[in-house]
Subunit: 538 residues, 2 copies
């Protein structure tokens, strides 16, 4: 494995920035009082003893690559969802992998899957461990033995500069992949908030979307072809730019979340590394008019690479919590003073690419932004957002320490039904928090603009109640998911399904859709060892 | 059914334009002498008597919607591939559907599938009947009874002008769909050569690509969601702009070629109807440099909506055969005289959209075209191409009457391997024709530009040998397909798999990929009644 990384949350490996006293005060004011709680130390975590594993596993990958120390098991026992972090911080893990297996190469992965299938050992593929939907949890279902397969040794990079494609190993973390690509003058342009820790294989397995995906495209659109090593064998799609050869097996591999096999190679489309980046803040009177601005940008082929609109609450909170609030606050106050308004919604717009292309596309974007009533706040807020774009998960660590529940969820719909979806989900979360006696705070931004719609990304904060964290989280999550389903939105725009969303897959793809996926799983993974308890409802 | 349409080829329903004496002479000169042959009249076609069908089929769709007249059976017995046309023209059909069933609506489709599954009657979904890969042939395999399901009654149109989406019935033909969309100010922008006769359901079922797909996107990229009615029930995907909810079932419906069920509803993304269209001709010294021009256009975000480069032979032949050759010839001669060259390759570039956007994108495209060495031939050749863009199939009718074999096939690869693929396929076809004693003519154009590659579209012409047409076609087709496979190209970029390409599906998606598709088919179509003998090799 490349680096130890954190064992819970984002910042336990470093990079934390304590909240300022002002921010903490604002939080108390808006969300309510909370009682700080501390995480235990990693060595104090209690977990069940590991079940003994068959020798064939050691033979498949080499004994030195089978790790059974508690530290390794703890680091691979959960992802980064709120309930995951709560369980980890509590120091009491009800389950963890019996071993962490670290195959040296693809052949070792194949041998491992073969051994596990024969012996009936469950397999959880593990990339960066950043799933926020329970995708890497040790869910044994009916299995007595379970291993986490850490893919961090599969990190090859090969660039085709003429076709602008790259063949990447699944274990490459975001920054490592980008460094290797940058050395050859190209970029993948995939920058999700989990960029620092998530992997290429994870991006593909979960249909990741990045902050700049409005421009560069979602990860599933960047995947030209892929190889899945399943217990039943190898599934490889052709590395051609497109094909009409039947239903898309590439699109079956992408999004398979470890439930069909291990993604051992991904061919991606890359672009010339940008010469320049221009990020800016704009302001609109309200969320609805902000959505209209983005709709026009998307439908007039004028969408920036990054585009997001915060609702009023998120605008207010981000100004209060962010380390960069000074710059934005000043710009915003100037605007509000000018307009004699007391609030508004911030829009972040960012362009990347060749200097000339950025100038041209930005001028086009500006024209639409202005025509639709947005007012420029200048580059300050944009640069501040860009600097802080990976800070969210670190901030959540702080919030958990301060005693708050902090969680996010996302959905998407067409422009025609986006506001209805927004109101329904925000209302459902607010009601669920209120009925638990802790109203808390719900806010949202729109991002990932398409010609036909966009995604909505919700955050909710509330004082946590020690010992009842997961139960309370579940009540809110369930209300939100039910509101999404009944408003016709998708249960997930880019977090994936994992364990948390699988009860809603029937609504998403109909019963026959589930049956189709189950049929594929039974054929590719006859023993059902791959990531049990995820993706498909039982 | 909306209109009778042709019973073989494109022009037997009207629209033929006889070749000029000059063109006929050129053909004899380039391809060789051939003996004209005539098609029999539709009423003289002999076909096996229809097997009696169970009453439950009439009950499902209404007795008036079960057609057993020979004319109806003949019109639904085959598609538009060269071997299909040869069989039809010969007047001897070895097989045809026992009946043509025309369900009034989706409920009737569902009832029909139920009846057919219970009674073991094979079902061939039929849209426009324009498959050129045997996709609608009456291949019974082990079934005693087979019906063709003509979907021409399912033609609803509903536009969401805010989300720029439209919900379309599968039976809508291209022009009818575009007229209905144009009435609401939008366009699908999907213009394959089969546009006049092919249907929305067919576009989705076969992953169609249109002449303007470099700009508007391939049909699979235009499909936001779809409904598949399978014998086992309904599979419907959500009409959201995107989702991360697991493997894509939309991408399983798209490309399913009638082998999983009937596509009864398609939600597509539309665009504002174009204010203007600008089509132009350009010339480059050779095919390789033409491909480089297109690569730069695609990779620099400067690709026109239509872009195609003819190789030298296609350039020469299209000037000789086309009714519009006068305009292009004059422009070309002027260029060649100026450059003291005897040949070159024609590039067609076309832009569509709002006036301002077209002006901006065209200026950008021109800059790249000129920088990469292309020389403008002006608007004449572009307009001529645009006027004649649906003439290919009519021309083929003429060629068959004149006694020539005329067939097309297509593939795609990355820019890095495109020339290798071009040489291999052209060489394979030339060798196969030569070894049969009739060298003939092979030519190609590049089209459908992606950032990572493009498609190649081959045409071959040779004198046919009466009675041996299909055998000779098969030898050439097989050589071409083997060259495609061994060069790593895709077996089909937009014609689909059907019956002709299914032997190559194993190379395309690996054995495990086939197994995955078979598993889905077995679940969705347990009796195996849907379009037997197509898509999946047995």
């Amino acid at each position: 494995m490349t680096e130890p990384g954190p064992w819970w949350g984002w910042g336990s490996g470093g990079g934390r920035e304590p909240l300022s006293p002002d921010a903490t005060a604002m939080l108390r004011n808006l969300v309510g009082e909370a009682s700080p709680t501390a995480a235990v130390e990693i060595d104090d975590v209690t977990l069940p003893p590991p079940a003994p594993l068959p020798d064939s596993i050691s033979r498949a990958v080499g004994a030195a690559n089978v790790l059974t120390a508690n530290r390794d098991r703890v680091r691979h026992a959960a992802g980064m969802s709120y309930p995951d972090l709560v369980r980890l911080r509590s120091g009491r893990l009800e389950d963890a992998p019996d071993a962490v297996v670290v195959p040296d190469d693809r052949d070792a992965v194949v041998a491992l899957l073969d051994a596990c299938a024969r012996e009936g050992v469950a397999v959880v593929p593990f990339g960066g461990g950043t799933s926020v939907v329970g995708g890497v949890d040790s869910a044994r279902e009916s299995f007595q033995r379970l291993v986490s397969v850490d893919l961090s040794s599969l990190r090859s990079v090969s660039v085709d500069g003429r076709a602008l494609t790259a063949r990447l190993g699944p274990g490459l973390k975001g920054p490592e992949a980008e460094r290797a690509l940058a050395a050859q003058g190209v970029t993948l342009g995939h920058f999700p908030q989990s960029f620092e820790r998530a992997t290429i294989g994870g991006f593909a397995a979960t249909r990741s979307a990045g902050q700049a995906s409005s421009g560069y495209g979602r990860f599933d659109a960047l995947v030209a072809s892929a190889r899945l090593d399943a217990p039943a064998g190898e599934l490889r799609t052709r590395d051609t730019p497109h094909t009409a050869a039947g239903p898309s097996l590439r699109e079956l591999i992408v999004g398979s979340e470890g439930a069909l096999g291990v993604i051992t190679e991904v061919d991606v489309r890359v672009r010339a590394a940008p010469e320049t980046r221009r990020y800016e803040g704009w302001i609109v009177p309200d969320f609805e008019s902000g959505a209209e601005v983005v709709r026009h940008l998307a439908q007039e082929d004028a969408v920036p690479d990054v585009i997001r609109v915060s609702d009023r609450t998120e605008t207010r909170v981000s100004l209060g919590l962010s380390a960069t609030r000074g710059i934005t606050r000043r710009a915003l106050d100037a605007y509000l003073g000018l307009r004699r308004r007391s609030d508004g919604c911030i829009v972040i717009a960012g362009w990347e690419g060749g200097r000339e292309a950025v100038a041209r596309r930005r001028a086009l974007g500006h024209r639409v932004l202005r025509r639709e009533g947005a007012v420029s706040l200048g580059a300050g807020p944009g640069r501040a957002w860009h600097r802080g774009r990976y800070r969210g998960p670190y901030l959540r660590d702080e919030l958990l320490d301060l005693g708050y529940m902090a969680e996010t969820l996302e959905t998407a719909h067409t422009w025609s039904r986006l506001q209805e979806l927004y109101r329904a989900v925000r209302g459902a979360i607010e009601s669920a928090l209120a009925s638990a006696g802790t109203p808390g705070l719900v806010f949202c931004h729109l991002s990932h603009a398409y010609r036909d719609g966009a995604s909505l990304y919700f955050t909710f904060l509330a004082p946590s109640r020690p010992g009842e964290e997961i139960e309370r989280w579940r009540a809110v999550k369930q209300s939100a998911c039910e509101a999404i389903v009944s408003s016709g939105g998708t249960i997930t725009h880019h977090h994936g399904v994992g364990r948390d969303h699988r009860p809603y897959m029937r609504d998403e793809v109909t019963e026959l859709g589930l049956e189709a996926l189950r049929a594929v799983k039974e054929r590719l993974d006859p023993a059902g060892i791959m990531n049990p308890g995820k993706l498909l409802p039982s």
